[in-house]
Assembly symmetry: C2
Homo-oligomer: 343 residues x 2
DNA sequence: CAAATTTCTTTACGCGCGTAAATTTTTGTC
DNA sequence: GACAAAAATTTACGCGCGTAAAGAAATTTG
């Protein structure tokens, strides 16, 4: 970390006693040069603290080592967490993650895709907004950049989809609730932002039918990504309208459940599986905060790690293969039931 | 959006009938060319959908239009939110935000700073980790890049600090709690990650002395950024040890309070300002989730907008001024008390 | 130890754009 | 309509690096 300042690869090459093209080769793949050469370069490296200019490196390359990671909402700890996992995996693979959040807005999602295109990424991991996505914009993007979708699927767009198996989520929660008490009503947004919500409702209906119970879907109004408030407001409205009579409620996702729990608390209702409770509440996602709700939330957890690892792995296969996968892959991981106090 | 593909500015200039240097000038500042010229360029622009190559644009420039935004923990909705606000303001100013989260790790924070340096940003908005920050690394960085610190101060580092006035936070909550009931005990982490926590404890001690009450600080163990769990665990431990006897608790921050509320719930304690409650709980930050705790959390809110706006404004003054501000500015914004149900 | 192979060096060009200098064209003023 | 000022054009070079080609040097093989 000492010595005079190195301004470019030319000077660094001179300082290390290696030719510039060889140094360039080293930076593109350290293993591509002879051991003795690598040692000399690395010795010079921590003597002079030089790093290739990132812009010069990329401008004359068709593809960079950038990997885009786009999530619909970075303020949602759920997505922040999975973005972090992806980031870590991408770095480990020697690439450079660029994390972008769409803030729940179609325009921002499109902006993010445009930004990424100008970054010439080698590939992109995209969790689309879902219903609010500009399908044609996303499709156009995917035609130009190898893209793996995750979390939320858009049919036939992207080279692959890696996500969680909503049926597995709902089957487990419904089975558990039915086995241990009253069959659940299903609590959801009428116009969910995300296609997973629809799959979960259908899975609920199917599971209830299989079990021989009458389904009961409570759909609450609300737009946008403020799920907690939508759940809270919707719960009050449903109680007021008399449409929420069940003593067993399965929420479409944890954030709605957090709002529902808040509303129940406000109404003085006791939630839990313990005797003397007014109702049981379960949900899906295992949101980072669901451990800290009152009561703690029984939910079905994503296999975060598997989804992240598989998404990254699939993307790199795509990139290295050069060509798109022959057929669009869709990989779904099952849920893991997490029993806590709410049900 | 039609027409043949444009490969570079040369071709685009030809297509629009303007010379390349003038087009270049346009992209650097649309107002720097004659109106009639701008119109022609913009006409061509949406006919051919051309964007200058971002790498070529930046490599031969001492400074880019990039603005780095670094927060200690992107999975914390609090930071995600403020990052979003900053992002929006930076875009509005015609710059290009690059948001990076440090995931609570010193190494990651240093990595982020290194990444930013290679991006040659015009300036950086940095919320440092605090105690865990590598001060000398941050200082070195700040010597090379115009940097405005926010949220968490490090003495004499960066060209300015914009934050919230911890004294105002604590004074308001303490005053409120004293006025409406028992004087509060103060609940905090023994080794907080963030310097604000120390300031809040001192402010609590001062406020209690002024009011003529005996202070009572409950410091719980725990390292890292899992504040909710630290708060929950610490609450149980404190109750078990008999060190938590107060009926009025002021938490250092909302995330600790969320954990404390969870623990109280688990112990069957009723929290709130209503008659019949076992204890009151208030806190600081107005975390996005504090609206949805059970009961909803009385807290002191940051003036998010003012902090974000001032931080961005200060940074741009710095950038445009060319030279560092004569004296390091420290600007603090007062809190706003948010009364909810917990106290 | 000579031949075959791998690795490195030298040389040279190009990427897409910023930018400076000199020149020409356009615009505004009287 | 002549003239000055403003703006656009032409020309030319450079940024820092990737990369190809050809030859020299080092390494491995038999």
């Amino acid at each position: 970390m000492s010595g005079q300042k190195i301004r470019n690869m030319e000077e660094f090459a001179a300082a290390s006693g290696i030719s510039r093209p060889t140094v360039s080769k080293y930076f593109n793949d350290p293993d591509s040069v002879r051991d003795s050469t690598r040692v000399r370069i690395e010795a010079a490296l921590d003597q002079y603290d030089y790093r290739p200019n990132i812009y010069a490196v990329n401008q004359n390359r068709r593809l960079t080592k950038n990997i885009g990671i786009v999530v619909p909402f970075l303020s949602d700890p759920f997505f922040a967490e999975i973005a972090r996992k992806l980031e870590t995996l991408v770095i480990a693979a020697g690439f450079r993650p660029v994390v972008l959040g769409s803030h729940g807005g179609t325009e921002q999602e499109n902006d993010n895709l445009e930004t990424l295109r100008s970054l010439k990424p080698a590939g992109v991991l995209l969790a689309p907004l879902g219903r609010a996505s500009d399908k044609s914009a996303v499709e156009t993007f995917c035609r130009h950049v190898p893209t793996v979708l995750f979390d939320s699927n858009i049919e036939d767009i992207g080279e692959a989809f890696i996500g969680s198996d909503n049926i597995s989520f709902v089957d487990q929660t419904v089975e558990y609730l039915c086995r241990t008490g009253e069959p659940p009503s299903f609590f959801e947004m009428r116009t969910p932002a995300n296609p997973n919500a629809n799959k979960r409702r259908l899975a609920y209906l199917a599971a209830m039918e299989r079990a021989g119970h009458a389904p009961d879907v409570i759909s609450v109004e609300g737009e946008g990504w403020g799920f907690e408030e939508i759940g809270r407001r919707g719960t009050h409205d449903a109680f007021d309208a008399g449409s929420l009579t069940s003593r067993s409620i399965l929420c479409s996702n944890d954030r709605l459940a957090i709002g529902l729990l808040a509303a129940c608390y406000e109404r003085g209702l006791k939630v839990g599986r313990a005797k003397g409770s007014d109702l049981r509440v379960a949900s899906h996602d295992d949101h980072p905060f669901s451990r800290f709700t009152c009561p703690s939330l029984t939910t079905a957890a994503h296999d975060y790690d598997a989804v992240a690892e598989q998404a990254v792995k699939t993307l790199f296969e795509l990139i290295e293969g050069g060509r798109p996968l022959s057929d669009r892959k869709e990989l779904l991981y099952p849920a893991r039931l997490v029993l806590r106090d709410s049900a």
